[in-house]
Every structure is written in C-alpha cells, then in structure tokens.
C-alpha cells in the first residue's frame, strides 16, 4: 500500500462541510447532533422532532409501523445486526398483558463513544423512537439502561424526559389518542457484560448483571418475565428519520443486505480521530484515507480493529472491503457497535490481542466456566508469548482453547472473546512466529523481547547517560557508549533523548 498523501492545509476551507473528513459522511442517526441544542425540546421540534410520533399515533396502526421498520431493512446497531423489524414483529406478536421497551445504552467497548454522542447531542430522538416502539409493540413502560460513567448523557436524558413529559409526549393520553407511555432511566455500574441483553435485563430487575441462556429471547420473555423489545441507542435514533422520510429513502442507502448508515468512533493511529457516520458499504479505504486522513507521520496502515473485544482485525490487504455486516464477517471481523481503531506499523498484533484478552478477563462475569477460566488461560498464554518464553505448542494450544471458549460460553461475551486472537492469528501469524521462534517483536512493542543498543552514530554526548534511570549506559565522553542489558529496563528514555538516532531497539 502506498503511503497516504500528506495533509495539506487549505485556508480557503472555512467550513467543516467542505473538508475531506466530512465529504463522504451522511448523517441520519446523527442528523441533529452538533446542530441543535440537546437541552431544548423546541429546537428538536423545529427540526421535525416528534412529528413522526404524532403521525404514528394519529394516522398509523401499530402493524403499519412494524411493516415500515421491516421494509426499511434497518438492522441492530449494537453489533450483531439482527433485523430490527423482525425484533419488533416478535415483540408485537407476543401475547401478554404487560410488555416493555428498553434501550441498551451500556456502551462498553474501549474507545467507543457513538451512543454517548447520540444521547448527549440528540436525546429526544431516542425518546421519540421509544414511544413509537411502545405503540408498535403494545408496551406502556420503557427503560433506558445507561452507564453512570456517562454523566452528561444521563443529565441531558433526564432533562429531555422531563421536557417530553411537560409537552405530553410521555405520560397518559399522548396526542389525545389515549395511548400512554412512560420512560425511566436505569443507571449501570459500568460492567461490560451488562451490554449483553439478558445481563442488561437482569441488571434492570435489580439483580447482579449476569446473562442467562437464550431462548427464551427477550421478545418472548424479558424484563420481569414479560415480552421486551430491546434495541441499541443508534438503532432507535434512526427510527424517527425512517418514519419521517419513508422506508424507501432509508433502504436506498447502503448495500443490498445492510441498509442505512453506521456511526463509527474513529480512533487509534489516525489523523482525524472523531465521530463519523457513513453509508454502509463505504470501503474501509475511504474511511481510513479520506475521512480519517491516513495514519499520522506518514506511517504505514497495518490493520483496522472493529467490534472491540468481540471483534477482529481487518488487515491492510483487505482495505478495499466494503464496510457491511456480511463482508466483515466473511473475513473474520465484525461490524460491531462502531469502535474503529486504526493501527499502523508500530502496533504489535500479538500485543493487541493480549490487550483485548486482558480486558475480557477483567469483564467476564464469572458465571460460566469456559469464559471465566478460558479467557484467563488465553491471556496467560499471550503473556507468555509476548514475554518471550512462548513455544509453537502454545500457539496451537491458543487455537484449541479459542474453539472451546467460542463453542461453550453462555453469552456473547465469552463466545466472541477469542475473536481478537483468532483474527490476529489468521492474518498476522508471522508475528506470532517471530515472537516464538525468533524471539523478536517486529513492531518493537513487547518489552520482554526488546534489546536496546547503541550504533556508530553515537557521538558520546552523554545525554543518554544522564537520562537513564538505572545507570545502564556507560562510556567515555566523545566515544561510543554501550548499554548493559542486565540493567536496562527498556523505558525508552534514552531513545527519546538521543539527537543522533544512535539508540536502536529490536
């Protein structure tokens, strides 16, 4: 792959709308985000807010709304991509005197902030969608499960709910139709597993957030044992737009099987970190090179990580892949909830896998053995490999263990936890082999495998000697210095200090 052209600044561009960052974007779920004041219901209404609800309640039947959502082709934006309309259909078909609508705002992937941005920037879009959903499936109570670590999102949601009640969009007899719907917030304590739907439901019920087997699915038996429609924040944010503009217009965006747009939190080794929304089917190359502006410092793009701890890596060889649910799973990654972490040549893929496993070890709820113990063992094996004492048998063991964890874990957290290992093994096996056979970390990240040395460019200026915290560097002034590997703690201080590129690591 060619290095990305360096960014040239252009003083004639005075508006975000005219930047490369923005040109390829299409804002549907984020239509009001960054435009309106999220704490003003009037501004939301000025941008056609609550008009979809008004029309739904006064002119459309619940069945018609489910039909529109089905036809739009909208799929769950939490990551799995289940058709939203079918979920609504299941919940609508369930026979029960009480049903619930819930919103999953327990965004836990490291580096992901799509849902937070929607809640902070346009909370009414989620509220409006949930009332519509309540009408469509026959529920009168909704819950938004949001993590307490999002104080601004929670504050704005509370303001928005209060305003919606004042205006009569929540409560009894909405728009004079006799339909009643109320909404409450439930705060999560930040456990990653609570983003899993059955664990989330258990947590809303007031119990410790642990998953339970499915089926029964929440649409049949969910919150308090009643049929429950549970969708992600971004999924809901699309609903009012679809009802206002028609399913045809939404279905015209995207690919054959994946309609609409997707929000990504673009982060890592990328120039334009930020929040982007692109039509599904946009290629990874467009997102990385055009929207993202490439890797900083002219470094070479190595891989993109999607789906966080449940996802996988897309290597540079697949950069022209369209970003949609099917294409990404075909290469062993996933759409995920929208975290998109870019990695360049300085990232070690074994270390990345180890990082995500370290996360799942912390976040495994401990209920089932394959996940509780399996992820711990996986992480230990990865520690061994990155520490320099791994063997090829360990790599085989990794693969075997991955299969056991995927096949036997109770919930999606465990089932998908091996994905970062499997996808890096698939595309970067040479890096694993370099760690195990050559005892080298090609990216120079894994400290256990690093050796610092000094080359002939050394002028003997002694700057490194003064900065070294362990006294590992010695030598006479104006002569080449040496590093004692026994004392060196690989802190990189000498490398940062040296003005002559004389410190080498490898």
């Amino acid at each position: 792959m060619e290095p990305v052209k360096p960014h040239t600044h252009d003083e004639t561009v005075t508006s975000l709308n005219n930047t490369d960052f923005y040109k390829h974007q299409l804002r549907v779920a984020l239509r009001n985000c960054g435009v309106i004041n999220p704490e003003s219901i009037d501004e939301y209404i000025a941008f056609d807010g609550y008009s979809a609800l008004a029309r739904a309640l006064t002119e459309q039947t619940p069945a018609e709304i489910v039909e529109i959502v089905l036809k739009s082709g909208l799929r769950g934006r939490g990551g799995a991509g289940f058709p939203t309309g079918r979920k609504w259909q299941f919940a609508a078909d369930a026979q029960n005197d009480v049903k619930y609508v819930a919103c999953n705002a327990d965004e836990g992937d490291p580096g992901a902030f799509m849902d937070r941005s929607v809640l902070e920037g346009d909370p009414h879009s989620v509220i409006e969608a949930m009332v519509i959903a309540g009408y469509a499936v026959g529920a009168h109570q909704g819950y938004i499960y949001v993590r307490a670590e999002y104080p601004i999102a929670v504050e704005r949601l509370n303001i928005a709910i209060r305003q919606a009640k004042e205006y009569g969009f929540l409560g009894d007899n909405i728009f004079g139709t006799g339909f009643a719907f109320d909404l409450e917030i439930r705060l999560g304590a930040g456990a990653f597993v609570c983003g899993e739907e059955t664990a989330l439901i258990t947590s809303i019920e007031g119990n410790r957030g642990e998953p339970r087997p499915r089926p029964p699915f929440p649409a049949v038996k969910g919150l308090f044992g009643k049929p429950t429609l549970l969708n992600n924040v971004e999924t809901y944010a699309n609903i009012p737009w679809i009802l206002q503009n028609g399913w045809e217009k939404f279905a015209a965006i995207g690919t054959e099987k994946s309609k609409g747009t997707k929000i990504f939190a673009l982060g890592g080794k990328i120039r334009n970190t930020g929040l982007v929304e692109v039509p599904i089917g946009t290629t990874l190359r467009t997102v990385v090179e055009e929207v993202g502006g490439g890797c900083p410092g002219g470094k070479k793009f190595k891989a993109a990580q999607t789906g966080g701890p449940s996802g996988g890596c897309i290597p540079a060889a697949h950069i022209d892949i369209p970003i949609d649910y099917e294409s990404l799973s075909s290469i062993g990654s996933m759409m995920g909830s929208g975290g998109l972490i870019i990695m360049d040549e300085d990232n070690c893929m074994v270390d990345i896998a180890r990082y995500f496993l370290d996360f799942t070890v912390d976040e495994s709820c401990g209920k089932c053995t394959p996940c509780r113990i399996g992820t711990k063992r996986l992480c230990q094996l990865l520690d061994k490999i990155t520490g320099g004492s791994g063997t090829m048998e360990d790599v085989e063991l990794l693969e075997e263990l991955c299969a056991h964890i995927s096949n036997n874990s109770l919930c999606a957290l465990g089932q998908t936890a091996p994905n970062p290992v499997l996808s890096t093994l698939r595309y970067f096996r040479d890096e694993y082999e370099a760690h195990v056979i050559d005892k080298k970390c090609p990216a120079g990240v894994c400290k256990g495998l690093l050796q610092y040395g000094i080359n002939d460019k050394c002028t003997g200026c002694t700057a490194c000697v003064r900065v070294c915290p362990t006294g590992a560097i010695s030598g006479k002034v104006k002569e080449k210095h040496v590093i004692d590997p026994a004392k060196c703690i690989k802190c990189n201080a000498c490398m940062e200090k040296c003005r002559f590129n004389a410190i080498v690591k490898g």
């Binding site: 508006s15 975000l16 960054g34 309106i36 008009s51 902030f113 902070e120 346009d122 930020g274």
Partner: protein, 120 residues
C-alpha cells in the same frame, strides 16, 4: 400538546431562531459533548455569551450543541449566517472566541486563520 397543529406552531416559532434564513440573525453553536467539555468548551461558551452581551449584539443566539465530530480539533465553535456556508472555528480559547465575536459576528469578516482549513 394535543395535536399535530400544536407541534407545527412550536416548530414555526422556533425554526427562525435555530436556523435563521434571512436578515441579520446569527447563530453561534459551541460543541458541548463530553469531548468538547473535556477540551475546554465551557469557558469558550461563556466567553461567547459574555462578548455578545458586552457588545450589545442583537439577533445573535449563542447556544450549546452535541458532538460536532472532529474531536481532534475541539473546542469547536460554528457560526451560522443566513445564506452563507457555516464557518467552523477550531481549537478555540476564550481569547479566540472573543475575537470571533468581534470580527466575524459584529464585523462580518471571517477570521480565516482560526478556521478548520487553517488548523495545523
């Protein structure tokens, strides 16, 4: 709120303030999502409001908004003037915000060197 008509009334009453289409009305928004606030958007918003007040500018709305998207360049201030492309000011400080109010909003001259195209 009893009918679609009520909704329309609010819509029409607010639209001009949110999305000025004519006249001298100017709308200034400051990105106040977590990313913006962390980068220092609160004092920027306060400076914009204060400077607009000090200069006695009428027809200017200063308000907060959600994430504008370019987290890297926060705090961000955007200025909407009717009939023109919005202008995006990046990496704002209180001083820069006061300058934008003075030169762009009061004087109607875009402060090019503070806009997104000039960043970095």
């Amino acid at each position: 709120m009893k009918s679609i008509e009520d909704l329309k009334k609010i819509r029409e009453a607010t639209l001009e303030a949110v999305c000025p289409r004519e006249g001298n009305a100017v709308r200034v928004v400051v990105g106040m999502a977590t990313c913006g606030i962390a980068a220092g958007a609160r004092p920027v918003l306060a400076a914009c409001e204060d400077e607009v007040g000090k200069r006695g500018l009428s027809n200017v709305t200063v308000t907060q908004t959600g994430c504008i998207g370019v987290c890297r360049l926060e705090p961000i201030v955007e200025v909407y003037v009717p009939g023109e492309e919005k202008v995006t000011y990046v990496k704002m400080t209180e001083e820069k915000a006061r300058r934008v109010v003075g030169e762009h909003i009061a004087g109607r001259r875009i402060v090019t060197e503070l806009t997104i195209g000039a960043a970095e």
